[in-house]
């Protein structure tokens, strides 16, 4: 199912640059950015400040995908992981630039800007973050 391109370009700041935000009330950091802090709620309104994350973190857990969605079929088998960023937020991303057998829980990783999907060969190309081992 193809969507209008707006669905993707409106996420560009987050997906290209890991732009999150920080609650001015409790200092918690969120990614993707939230309209309000779930902990401070009304106290956080107007106090949510953009924060670019440094893209470094560690693997909390992972899997190797052997049966993937159509858009990812050519990449099979590929590792997918939950990563805890140093600033606190967790996210889900592919691990690249290493042997799939080398992915481990606790491994240090950093973000890298990559092509994620595309709408056939004449459609839009969607970019975003993947993560690679810190060497």
């Amino acid at each position: 199912m193809k969507s209008n391109v707006a669905r993707f370009w409106r996420q560009i700041p987050q997906r290209y640059n890991l732009l999150g935000n920080k609650c001015g009330s409790c200092e918690r950091v969120f990614f993707p950015p939230r309209e309000a802090c779930p902990y401070c709620r009304r106290k956080s309104i107007g106090k949510m400040h953009d924060l670019k994350l440094n893209g470094k973190g560690e693997v909390v857990t992972y899997s190797i995908i052997h049966v993937g969605p159509e858009d990812f079929e050519e990449q099979i088998p590929y590792p997918i992981a939950i990563i805890k960023l140093d600033e606190g937020p967790h996210l889900t991303a592919q691990i690249v630039d290493c042997d799939i057998n080398d992915v481990k829980i606790g491994m240090r990783v950093e973000s890298t800007f990559r092509r994620i999907q595309e709408d056939d060969y004449v459609g839009a190309i969607y970019y975003g973050y993947k993560f690679k081992p810190v060497r």
Binding site: V60, T61, Y62, S63, G68, I80, I82, H90, T92, Q94
Partner: protein
Amino acid sequence: MREVAVIGVGLTKFGELWDKSFRQLIAEAGSKAILDSGIEGKDIDAMYIGSMSSGRFVGQEHIGALVADASGFSHLHIPATRVEGACASGGLAVREGFLSIASGMNDIVVVGGIEKMNDVAGATATETLAMAADQEWEAFFGATFPGLYAMIAMKHMHDYGTTREQLAQVAVKNHKNGALNPYAQYQHEITVEQVLKAAPVAYPLGLFDCSPVTDGAASIVLCALDKAKKYTDKPVKIIASGQASDTLALHTRRDICTLDATVYAAKMAYKQANIAVKDIDLAEVHDCFTIAEICAIEDLGFVKKGEGGKAVENKITTLDGSLPVNTSGGLKSKGHPVGATGVAQIVEITQQLKGEAGKRQVKDAKIGLTHNVGGSGATCVIHILEAD
């Protein structure tokens, strides 16, 4: 709040039902439940239908009215509502029916659950199921639905020493039970070796760790307990209905290995029923993947966190164990027509509590629990049933 009872149940065969349409399946399950209950069409105050994605699977939305129509009730103009909460849609429909009677608004409600998943290609079915996950922040980056549960499994193995064999034993147990269920998709036993050697889907999970793509429908008739005796000598009371939610994305959860939605829904249900875990005689839990059953028995409080794998290995949850889990065969062996699952769980527990479960019968079963999960744990709905 008024007391509510199950007075009738109906199931279709679960499986790849190429010769049956969406409409035929739900009408079949519904008419079986209605005939079982002894009510007539004019007695029905409302209908609730659980379905995750009829729009994607058969290209049809607006199925509340469709189901009333397909069941032959269009001229009765019965209020009919579709309920959606991914794989928990069926359980949520049961809860809506329960609440509408408990509130005093309705006396008799028919609840249905359905998914017709084989009318689309396998890849489309997989993609549709992934819509229960966070599309923008999980699926977009290449996470699959089995991949999310695989990440729970990896963390569980890492943190608690749960083994690949223990995961496999969940599937082996559920197939053993399913072999005794004439409605199950897979009515044959499997071995640990077969599970371990199956094609990989999302490491560490293989094909036999995953519930299948299934067509099927289930239905129950609910009635205010004070009116139930008119229809049956053996009403089965619903003594609790708990529900909770959590973050849509797995990565945002407090703990990757704990479904807090299950913990909170269970807490709500145990309090309502005024029972302790030790009072439960059997349970149908949401084993969409083998790891999910291990997390479920921990999060429901049957065993301590981290001891689920050991409990399976020690055969606590087998048909003759101290707390039988998934006597129907569970989602793994009975099949998982997503929207039907939560309703089918009530069907199994009702039959068990009435002593009508045939070769799967758990001796002296008095109290049973159903546990239905949406997505990777963003929704959980739990019911506790008791023989009256």
